[in-house]
């Protein structure tokens, strides 16, 4: 079950769904795509309805919400309708490419992992569209995280992951943070609970359409969240 939380993704949604369907059909993987739209004002839901008609309501599940309620609750909401035994979470803005999902699955089988995390920092993982400053912030923040949390995973703020359904359910109960820190907390708690994590290098292609969000506010809240995790886990 692929969970796609969306907010104002009218342009990207059909493309990411097309890529998902094409990739997963070609790999013979049984799948469903759950679109959790938080009341987007730009017509995302209309596009989603068209996609449902094109690909069938057994493959495209529309489970919208009235307004912007955040990523964590979007996952919880989406999971209620997921019939898969594995859940893939990813961004709907084309920064995560569905072609890695079969690799996640292969990796999961290889090590019987509870979680497979896409990493931009190892192997031939990487990014496209980031300037030096953005890369520096990313590497610096990741270094700080590694020193303070020693998490046993190279990319903690990444949100392209495969989870065993029961594992994600368990983690959602325990995680309380928001934003980037939420993704970090999932990995940290997973380690605490003894879940195993495998990694697959991924390429992250920054926003093809729309605006990317990393300002001073994000950095501050990231640091606050990191220190909270440091002090409480």
């Amino acid at each position: 079950s692929v969970l796609l939380p969306t907010y104002n993704e009218r342009d990207n949604l059909p493309l990411v769904v097309w890529l998902l369907v094409t990739t997963l059909r070609r790999s013979g993987i049984d799948f469903e795509i759950i679109i959790i739209d938080d009341g987007s004002p730009d017509g995302t839901q209309e596009v989603a309805k068209q996609l449902e008609k094109i690909y069938g309501s057994d493959k495209i599940l529309l489970r919208p919400r009235a307004r912007k309620l955040g990523l964590g609750t979007a996952y919880i909401h989406g999971m209620k309708y997921a019939s898969g035994n594995f859940i893939v979470i990813m961004d709907a803005d084309l920064s995560h490419h569905p072609k890695f999902i079969p690799e996640f699955i292969r990796k999961q089988k290889e090590g019987n992992f509870d979680i497979v995390s896409g990493t931009r920092y190892k192997g031939n993982g990487g990014v496209y569209g980031w300037d030096l400053k953005r890369k520096l912030i990313s590497r610096g923040a990741n270094f700080l995280t590694q020193v303070l949390l020693r998490p046993g995973a190279s990319d903690l703020t990444g949100s392209f992951r495969l989870y065993r359904k029961e594992v994600l359910e368990k983690l959602m109960e325990k995680c309380v943070s928001k934003g980037y820190v939420f993704q970090m907390e999932m990995v940290v708690r997973a380690r605490q609970l003894g879940f195993t994590i495998g990694e697959v290098p991924i390429s992250f292609v920054d926003r093809v359409y729309g605006e990317s969000k990393l300002g001073g506010n994000e950095i501050i809240s990231f640091l606050k969240g990191l220190l909270t995790l440091f002090a409480t886990t």
């Binding site: 493309l15 094109i54 990014v127 496209y128 520096l136 390429s203 992250f204 002090a231």
Partner: protein
């Protein structure tokens, strides 16, 4: 124990070992050369860690992969996707 707890314990352990040896009263002092090396050790370690951090982040920054092919491939696929979706009846 939390990570913070581990750090505090570790620092307390190392700190007290250092203090015991470096700040010991005259009767219990280790030999002079050892004391001379021991006294500034915390600062040296801090600076060494600072250098290590800069070097590591710098290296990782320099070797951060740029996924040119991935971006190009994506652009191609977007074109194909748009054409296919239009054929299947998607109206934007």
């Amino acid at each position: 124990m939390t990570k913070l707890g581990q750090w505090l314990c570790g620092l307390a352990l190392l700190g007290s070992a250092w203090a015991a040896l470096a700040l010991a009263p005259p009767g219990l002092q280790p030999p002079a050369p050892l004391r001379q090396a021991l006294l500034p050790l915390p600062i040296y370690l801090l600076v060494a860690f600072g250098c290590y951090s800069l070097a590591t982040v710098g290296y990782r920054l320099a070797t951060f992969n740029d996924c040119e092919e991935a971006a190009a491939e994506l652009q191609e696929q977007i074109k194909a996707a748009r054409a296919d979706l239009r054929r299947r009846g998607l109206r934007l």
